[in-house]
């Protein structure tokens, strides 16, 4: 399946290569560089590039291209999904996934990659199994290793590998037993010029941080499970139980994991918590344009909107902008033409606004489209879909765990057309 892996940084250097079968010359990446050149932007590099003898499948994350070399037919998503899993694992191991970090930990990276694939077929991708095979580097462990001469490499097959619950290792012990669940919902929306909603959807996830001793068996039930239109589970969730009772029943992995992602159908009316008033105009005659936006709350169920950031990609003809915000800070990058306004909290009594003028390049014609405004925001303690967790119970262990549930709503891909 996966023949080789090349890691390429944004300046086009191959800084790591790993082969699982016979060695493929790194010159195969030239085809990739060609495609990269043609695409101009990193985002537009096609994920699948055919070459005369190989196929290059790549993902782009953290400013690094992970390029897998394939020789024969394979479901492309298989490779892509796996590459993403590799990135996730690196992130899990080192905290961040960046070129210097990978270079510093090249031995661990190599050992991890060696365990993740055998002959190009995934062998161990569960992070808890990997971590038992190859321990993540920590300062403490490095010190201990130098003194005692012990290694980072486990010499026993992780118990999870053979059990029916491969995601959980045995013998977990905590002094404080706690289970936290974060219900995070994101609103994807497109708002048109007049302020009416073109499309709006809610995508939610439940992220969990479970630190419980032994083999706890948890059940989580909702007040209104009918809201969930489409769900996808962590493998630990018992599907049959969900089908019949709409209850999440599972033996959790140890630590952080994503229990569930869900989708609230577009049929339900989605409450849009903010509105944007905008007045952006360019005139044919003068090289100056007017720019004014105001952000205000709407249907927030009494909660404050925080962390508001407004970004907008201005047309190419824009030379500079002179703006003054009523609150927060703003920047305009004349090279990328990106306007960014960090608003912060919205105070309903005094709505934040950004006003000023736009200067266009001399002689350039008026842009025929106004820029789209992208919005980010957060609302704490609110799940905008109205989803509520009813109760969380634990079976199988005797102690009383500390439980907590947090709700949050965020903007996902939230766009306002002007």
């Amino acid at each position: 399946m996966i023949h080789s892996l090349f890691l390429i940084n944004s300046s086009g250097d191959i800084f790591l290569e790993k082969h699982w079968k016979s060695v493929v010359s790194r010159s195969v990446c030239d085809y990739f560089f060609e495609a990269q050149e043609r695409a101009t932007e990193a985002e537009n590099v096609p994920p699948v590039i055919p070459t005369p003898h190989h196929y290059l499948l790549s993902v782009y994350r953290h400013k690094i291209f992970f390029v897998a070399v394939i020789q024969t037919e394979v479901p492309p998503l298989f490779v892509i999904e796996f590459l993403h899993r590799v990135v996730d694992t690196f992130q899990d191991y080192f905290g961040v996934c960046s070129e210097p970090v990978i270079k510093d930990n090249v031995v661990v990276v190599y050992e991890v990659l060696e365990e993740m694939l055998d002959n190009g077929f995934p062998l161990a991708t569960e992070s808890n199994i990997l971590k038992e095979l190859i321990k993540p580097p920590t300062i403490l462990r490095t010190v201990v290793n130098t003194i005692t001469g012990s290694t980072n490499v486990g010499d026993q097959l992780p118990t999870g590998q053979l059990s029916v619950v491969p995601w959980r290792r045995t013998g977990v012990k905590y002094t404080n037993n706690e289970a936290y669940f974060d219900v995070v919902e994101e609103i994807d929306a497109i708002i048109d010029k007049s302020g009416s909603t073109i499309t709006a959807e809610i995508q939610g996830v439940i992220d969990a941080c479970v630190k419980l001793t032994g083999m706890p068996d948890l059940t989580l039930s909702f007040m209104n499970p009918r809201l969930l239109d489409d769900v996808s589970f962590h493998p630990c969730v018992r599907f049959k139980r969900w089908e019949s009772e709409r209850i999440l029943s599972f033996i959790p992995p140890d630590g952080n994991f994503r229990l569930l992602s869900y989708h609230v159908s577009a049929q339900n009316l989605v409450a849009i918590p903010v509105y944007v008033k905008h007045n952006i105009s360019f005139r044919d005659s003068s090289s100056l344009g007017r720019f004014e936006i105001t952000v205000g709350p709407k249907q927030t169920m009494g909660k404050t909107i925080e962390g508001v950031i407004v970004t907008s990609q201005m047309p190419k003809g824009v030379l500079n902008m002179s703006l003054s915000p009523s609150q927060g800070t703003h920047t305009f990058d004349p090279v990328t033409k990106m306007l960014s306004w960090d608003v912060g909290k919205i105070n309903p009594q005094k709505l934040p606004s950004l006003k000023g003028t736009v200067s266009l390049q001399a002689g350039a014609s008026r842009p025929d489209e106004n820029p789209t405004i992208n919005l980010q925001f957060k609302i704490q303690q609110l799940a905008i879909s109205g989803l509520k967790v009813n109760r969380l119970d634990m079976y199988g262990e005797k102690y009383k765990p500390f439980k907590g549930i947090k709700y949050m709503t965020k903007a996902g891909k939230f766009q306002v057309r002007t």
Binding site: M1, E17, K21, V23, V24, S25, S27, V28, D30, F33, E43, P47, V48, P52, H53, Y55, V59, T72, E73, P75, P76, L77, E81, F82, L83, V107, V109, Y110, E114, D118, N119, F121, T125, G149, V153, D155, Q156, L157, Q161, L162, V164, D192, T199, E201, Q203, S232, H234, F239, E243, S261, H263, A266, Q313, P315, K316, S365, D368, N374, K413, Q415
Partner: protein, 1105 residues
Amino acid sequence: MSSNSFAYNEQSGGGEATELGQEATSTISPSGAFGLFSSDLKKNEDLKQMLESNKDSAKLDAMKRIVGMIAKGKNASELFPAVVKNVASKNIEIKKLVYVYLVRYAEEQQDLALLSISTFQRALKDPNQLIRASALRVLSSIRVPIIVPIMMLAIKEAAADLSPYVRKNAAHAIQKLYSLDPEQKEMLIEVIEKLLKDKSILVAGSVVMAFEEVCPDRIDLIHKNYRKLCNLLVDVEEWGQVVIIHMLTRYARTQFVSPWREDDGLEDNEKSFYDSDDEQKEKTDKRKKPYTMDPDHRLLIRNTKPLLQSRNAAVVMAVAQLYWHISPKSEAGIISKSLVRLLRSNREVQYIVLQNIATMSIQRKGMFEPYLKSFYVRSTDPTMIKTLKLEILTNLANEANISTLLREFQTYVKSQDKQFAAATIQTIGRCAANISEVTDTCLSGLVCLLSNRDEIVVAESVVVIKKLLQMQPAQHGEIIKHMAKLLDSITVPVARASILWLIGENCERVPKIAPDVLRKMAKSFTSEDDLVKLQILNLGAKLYLTNSKQTKLLTQYILNLGKYDQNYDIRDRTRFIRQLIVPNEKSGALSKYAKKIFLAQKPAPLLESPFKDRDHFQLGTLSHTLNAKAAGYLELSNWPEVAPDPSVRNVEVIDLAKEWTPAGKAKNENPTKKFYSESEEEEDSSDSSSDSGSESGSESGEEDEEGDSSEDSSEDSSSEPESESGRQSDTENRRVAKRNSKTKGKGDSKDEKKENEKSKTSDSSNAESSSVEESSSDSESESESESESESRKVTKEKEKKTKQDRNRLATDVSLLDLDDCEYWDASVLVPCLVVNPVSTPVALPTPALSPSLIADLEGLNLSTSSSVISVSTPVFVPMKTHVLLHRMSGKGLAAHYSFPRQPCIFGDKMVSVQITLNNTTDKKIENIHIREKKLPIGMQMHVFNPIESLEPEGSITVSMGIDFCDSTQTASFQLCTKDDCFSVNIQPPVGELLLPVAMSEKDFKKEQGMLTGMNETSATIIAAPQNFPPSVILQKVINVANAGVVPSGQDNIHRFAAKTVHSGSLMLVTVELKEGSTAQLIINTEKTVIGSVLLRELKPVLSQG
């Protein structure tokens, strides 16, 4: 480096060795190969020293640096000798890093690499499974052809390893060995076949991967494992799921008939024609056969559904393509929701998913229509995503939603991403062409765009308008005039060319403008693009033909310009046109038709989706993404018109029920499974139960044979059951013989005392004597009718009452002989004589056939006939062996059990169970005994004496007795060795809870008369004609239930009598053949529960052919 190695890469994949050499040089920096080489040497020198030091820490540091070099792509091959020495290091991290190094460089340094092999061979025997597994991994990754035999051996051994993790690695190793040496294919297929039977969820994905790589065409290997794979699927790790689903999709397309309803009338006719051919299916509706889905087909569809909820996009996509390709069209709808969910994922995932949706949305619009808004484009999407979304929106456009879509498109046209805007214009054109209601709206919208300030937008609009106008050659003179004006401003060649072509085509509609355009163009001819020049020439020619008065000179001027153009295409075209349109003496007939040639009605272009032609690729594959066949792509076959024999997937019920399963869940499913396959047998009459029964017997005993017989069974040849049972009886005899020799030792001492025993010792000759008697009496009439011999046989059997195993053996053989009656004539005697002495060599030194013995037997007969209920000897049936403990789960100890159907020696309420223990390990197994009986209330068990030790490869048979209390409850207990305990259980088939009873017809009727009403259960069955011969009925009933045959006066009524072991209640079975092919099955007993269970088991047996 880039240009150099780029050129090189053209020949990459040719030879690995050259590639490596090339790579080594390419890593050398431009400072000059020589200088760097020496400095490298120096650096490596200290690494060598470190590797040779005694300290692990120094070695580890050195190895870490070396791995760093490998990661950067630097050449570290010259350190090979120093590194390979450390392969046996105690430090596991050093060891692992050495492994990494070895795998990377072994191919270059084959001779040195051989030094490390012995280390791996040792490690393959390590008690730690992780070490065994990683040794196998490295050994199989070393691409040195010399060690192929060693690898083969290692793989074979690992495939039988007790640890599923090691077996998983063995499956991976198969692929590696195959790519190293394809010659090994046949041997590897054997290993694959074996691993496919593995029940571990860990192994399933990897072995299917190996199957796909090595022998994807051997679909026959899947049959027996199909249901298991379907059931395991949910628990398999996600990567394995993807591979298995793709393989099963292919499998389903070859094994099941299409669930898609054909609208074509012809197809229907054809179908009904086939229908009448296969008679087993319902033929109620002659005109149209209602489609019934194969239960296995349904199983696959049902079991993959939960995986749509997987967090892994590849799994979701795999299920989606499975539904798309094999489920009924009405059910495929459920995948759209999940696919739309994936659109929230990373851009790469989005890209692939959108491509697949695009292909789907062409064929089945309805599936994605509800999700129209999910495909709306955001300004932040990368261009490739935008274009794909646009593609899908176009495919989904219809009369109902077009107005919303057009409004949306308007926004897109204004996008700053001009490439995307241009694509939108194309899209609008396609919508206009496909939906006639909006054509005019779209056209006017496009015309508006002609005044856009962006050139690309205008150019694209021109091109699209041109196509639209061509499709409806109507009265769009105004638009053409407008476009003619654009020629002054627009510079994009395609657009200019399009306008010129449009004017040329419609030159008669705009007679005033056209010549003027030509005049302008003549002026700028030399500076135009080639594309435009060609169109100018065309325009000139067309005008010359329609309006030569005004344009003759202009055209000639242009033709002259073209004659000396730099581009040969244009020169060619000029010459061609001149010859055609300018009349001269040489131009013959063609110039007359010049007008027709130039101004012919041109077919309108079809505005089609670029995804139109992708649908012949399987969705979700690389080939589909590339729209080109990738190496190793396996074509999805068309549905077969007639489904291949579905019974090939039947797995023996006992196998399923008793064999070791990893998860508790699977265990629970087994009982239903059992029903399932039974009911299926009812439906498809192809495989007779006797067939599968006898097969299962031999199969569970000798695993190796399973493959062969499974292949054979598909043919369902008539000779097969015979040969099978023949083989079966052989093994049976051997077993029995062994037992006999054992009991004989005991028996001899006792037996000698009693005179009476003489008849017993010789009773194995009993049957012979009877059959001899028969055949001697009837020897004149050559072909003895079956039924006759049958009834005689039965009467004979009644005589032998408390005779035990030897007796049984004898009956066995003779009954078997009866089966083969067609082949037998007078010579029937001879084989009888031959077989018996062989099978019981000790018990019967001389076949005693003295008339006195026969007389004795007759006497016996007389004396016993008076008693109404007396236990008779069981009629022989091939003994079914069930797995008690699989050798995988028993750490090498295998146990099988069977019901020998003899009265139990431990207690008269017990059923005797015979257990055969095998030691498949290479060590002695000591102290085998039974512990912790967990029996339902009332049940009792007499265990066998502990076995002190069992030699490797040794086997021992022991008997025990279980009182099941006349119920089919399981007896659970633990089978223990010195070191381990294994929980096992025995569930008796209802037919084994009986003891045969001999009684006369009269007694039978009397007893039956007392057991009516509630105590009677009956059923009418439709029996296949081949079931009518009495011997067949007898055999079938006896196969299921341990009953005695009651001699019957009528040909069409067969009676069987038995009593339950525990309570001794009578169990009377009557089979009455009726007119037509129906038969009445009646069971009379006080134990109604057992009676009804027995009825249920008998029904399918009798009704099938």
